[in-house]
Symmetry: C2
Subunit: 200 residues, 2 copies
DNA sequence: GCATAGAACGAACGGTCGTGCTATTTTAGG
DNA sequence: CCTAAAATAGCACGACCGTTCGTTCTATGC
């Protein structure tokens, strides 16, 4: 069966290319994403792949967009069904932890943030934009819990968002590097303790 | 004046090469470290640099060792002057935060951990070894504070070490990506709150 | 002062990179 | 069915990659 909304063949293979590119990025990073490499992975010619994006950088930017969209769909969207305030905040944190734990490879956004944190250009700009948006949405979720009177009066929304982010980042690090069972449980415990510490 | 311990000319330039390589790695990552690039940076020929290491991978491993040594000297060694237990633990955390805040570039160990977390080989092996050692020494410092009766009885050493590491990682992320003043202060506040939460 | 070993150089190799071009094939609309 | 357009292939290019090799320079011990 064809996709619900019929899309042209061009857009279809473009999507397929990006999907493959995402899995390459997860293991080799953004600098390891090459036109030739991905062409081989999707059984196309280099020039065939190239024609879809016009430049390697545009391909990288497209992959970055796709990664951000996937993240939003898997972490934030499922959480907005929860009641705003603490339930939603907990849902975000939980989905995020599970996202890191279940993904077969590293998070492209985390890799990109490290790879380009010192290289000015469009890629870094896009990464910073997404990371700022992520942080501000997380902060907003915290603020809703504060406004609902569920958190201590001295709870600083940005501060708590920073500390939640820290635990997520550390889980990503541990799970990928040590590959030891129990990393997720440890992160969950840390997250629980953190939120309890700020809870009214 | 010559160095305290006279070293041969070969070892001297080798050290100079590694020093330069460290600064390249800080901005371009380990995959961005090329023989030709570093040769140009130290005004040598490619083959001249190459002869010192025998292969690119051996160069990368040497740079990794140098990075680990620098970290130990700047974070752990200054802390062992403090009394074992809470003072020493706090000193480690403080020196570590300042290390990230003062370094002109990203930490090579953090970059390497992300770059090679999915690429088996000698480089990944060395990174995992160093990271495990770092974590276990941090855990040991926490355990000393527990043994000294300075922490709550339910304090889990590995758990606290994980959470301290999380804050360090998040500071590295924020400071390098957002370049906003206040990241260090935020991380310090998080660290203080974290340790207080576990303190007896 | 000379012989010897280490250090650095320069050129070259095969390979891969991104990127243009020009064909050729495939798709979609009238 | 036919045709214009889109999609893909093929090929060549310059640049850079790690690596090898033979040579040259330089420091050091006898």
């Amino acid at each position: 069966m064809s996709p619900a909304v019929a899309i042209g063949k061009g857009a279809a293979t473009r999507d397929a290319v990006i999907k493959r590119a995402l899995s390459i990025v997860r293991t080799d990073g953004f600098e390891g994403l090459t036109i030739g490499g991905i062409a081989q992975a999707v059984s196309m010619s280099k020039s065939g792949v190239f024609a879809h994006f016009g430049s390697r950088e545009d391909l990288q930017l497209a992959v970055l967009d796709a990664a951000a969209q996937r993240f939003t769909e898997n972490v934030f969207l499922p959480a907005i069904r929860e009641k705003r305030g603490l339930p939603r905040l907990r849902a975000i944190a939980r989905h995020w932890l599970n996202w890191f734990a279940s993904e077969g490879g590293g998070c492209p956004m985390v890799s990109a943030a490290i790879e380009y944190d010192d290289r000015p250009g469009p890629i870094r700009d896009k990464i910073v934009g997404y990371q700022k948006r992520l942080r501000s949405e997380l902060t907003r979720a915290v603020q809703m819990a504060i406004d609902a009177g569920e958190m201590k009066s001295d709870c600083d929304a940005e501060q708590l968002a920073f500390e939640i982010f820290a635990i997520e980042l550390a889980l990503h690090h541990d799970i990928r590097l040590f590959r030891r069972d129990g990393s997720l449980a440890r992160a969950e415990r840390a997250m629980h303790r953190l939120i309890e510490a700020y809870r009214a």
